[in-house]
């Protein structure tokens, strides 16, 4: 074999070798990536607080994960007993019955904490988040499970909306260990933020037994501990408000985050082409109509995230984002560009901090 031919064969052989090796390497990298989550993940799904609780725990200790799931369920069960508006025996129901009484009623630490936060957020949102909409909520019927909601009598709505007491209605005494509610105040209904509170409590419970990495998802309200299976962060998608199986983007850079989304796409009904959803505007008694379609808030606690998401939803895309910016939380408001939430095109407004975390894709990214 002469010199050039010899070199040619060598070259060909090297090429074949490289090709095979590269092929293996490429596939290997792909396979290796799924092996990064070498810590086991345990998933638990349960019913809690009228919705579903999903807990994902990353740990090598299976019994720890199971214990965490049990404690999580138990904690939510306990919290539900306190805040369930449909349960006449719940603490919140008895508190509502005590309206107008002279003496203050002592309340549990959970109730105290939640009420304290709720009133604080009512103040900073200038009443757009209102915890005393109990009668209106029952009137609209989104919380009941037995029959489909319908538009209530406008007169009744007007009466209830007008009668909502101002800030003086609820008095927290002795550092909120007891509460006095004035007679004209609306009934307390903290349905949404109770779930947020539940998520915060579950995260505390899990951390308390030594779990380092977990994700708690209670009906779409999310709290995390530690990091997810990519070793850097949990990856949370934001549901697209108008397209099934689509999300607007992924939040994956913030550790220890709590995320809540308020939207008009789950609890709603359509009548004559108009959408009636469950987020009521305290000023009118009707579903908030400033064109908001969904609000996502990332905050330091799920309770706060939920309350602010509700407030921002009511306030609309501009005021809502302004409120969130002023409080230093990250948020995204998706709204109908021309005000028509049914056929209108969507647009979004977000805090600067939120945009650094995620750039919303309004066309929607497929979940699967």
């Amino acid at each position: 074999m002469n010199v050039t031919a010899r070199w040619k064969t060598r070259l060909i052989l090297v090429l074949i070798l490289v090709l095979i090796a590269a092929g293996i390497k490429v596939l290997g990298k792909r396979y290796l990536r799924t092996g990064e989550n070498s810590v086991a993940s345990y998933f638990f799904d349960n019913f809690a607080m009228g919705t579903v609780l999903t807990v994902k725990v990353r740990t090598d200790d299976k019994s720890l994960a199971e214990k965490g799931a049990e404690l999580a369920s138990a904690e939510l069960h306990r919290i539900h007993k306190i805040f369930d508006p449909n349960d006449t025996e719940s603490e919140i129901s008895s508190l509502n019955r005590s309206r107008g009484s002279e003496s203050a009623i002592s309340v549990s630490p959970d109730m105290a904490r939640l009420l304290g936060e709720a009133l604080r957020i009512r103040n900073i949102s200038r009443g757009n988040f209102e915890p005393t909409l109990g009668e209106l909520i029952r009137l609209w019927g989104f919380s009941n499970n037995s029959h489909r909601p319908e538009i209530p009598d406008p007169l009744r709505i007007a009466v209830l909306a007008d009668s909502l007491g101002g800030a003086g209605g609820i008095e927290l005494i002795d550092g909120a260990s007891s509460v006095r509610i004035a007679a004209q105040t609306g009934a307390l209904d903290v349905g949404g933020i109770a779930k947020g509170y539940g998520v915060d409590r579950v995260v505390d419970v899990l951390a308390g037994i030594g779990i380092k990495n977990a994700l708690v998802n209670l009906g779409g309200e999310i709290g995390v501990l530690g990091v997810g299976s990519n070793g850097r962060s949990w990856r949370i998608g934001v549901q697209h408000p108008r397209k099934q199986n689509c999300h607007l983007g992924v939040i994956d850079q913030v550790e220890g985050m709590f995320i809540a989304t308020s939207g008009d796409y789950e609890r709603f009904f359509l009548e004559k082409g108009r959408r009636y959803h469950h987020i009521l505007d305290p000023a009118t008694g009707y579903p908030a109509g400033r064109g908001t379609v969904s609000v996502t808030v990332i905050a330091s606690s799920c309770l706060v995230a939920d309350a602010l998401a509700t407030a921002a939803f009511v306030m609309g895309p501009e005021q809502g984002i302004r409120l969130l910016e002023s409080l230093g939380v990250h948020g995204l408001v998706v709204y109908a560009q021309d005000g028509d939430t049914e056929s209108g095109r969507l647009a979004y407004n977000a805090t600067r901090g939120f945009l650094q975390i995620m750039k919303p894709e309004l066309e929607g990214l497929p979940i699967n």
Binding site: G50, N230, R235, N245, E266, R267
Partner: protein, 138 residues
Amino acid sequence: MRQRRFRLPRLFTFADLVLLLAVGGASFAFYGFRFWQDRFGLTEPGRLVVQTGERVVAQLDLSRDTTLSVEGVLGEVTIVVSSHRVSFVNAACPLKICEKTGEISRRGEIIVCAPNKVLAKIAGGGPDDSGGLDGISR
């Protein structure tokens, strides 16, 4: 032996080539096979676990198209399995949030009818994790 005849072996024989190609090719093939399996969820048959409240009432094989009616707290909920995808139809609940959830197909995903306390989750088999998402905020 002091005087060894030093016969220098060849650098790269045909047998070498065969060896390299065989080992290389075999691993490539095996890998590709596993990769393909993983991708199309054929490592294990997909399984749908359906529960009402705490109780598991059915485990469906996702590879077979089925329709199952489950009795919930308020009434019936119908679960449809079609082309490895699961959805809820005809649920006896006022807001039909479960129906609005759409289809699920990956391991770990769930659809739930909360008023009826009916939960369907995909366990085992199928590509895992909703496209890398650990949860959806909604």
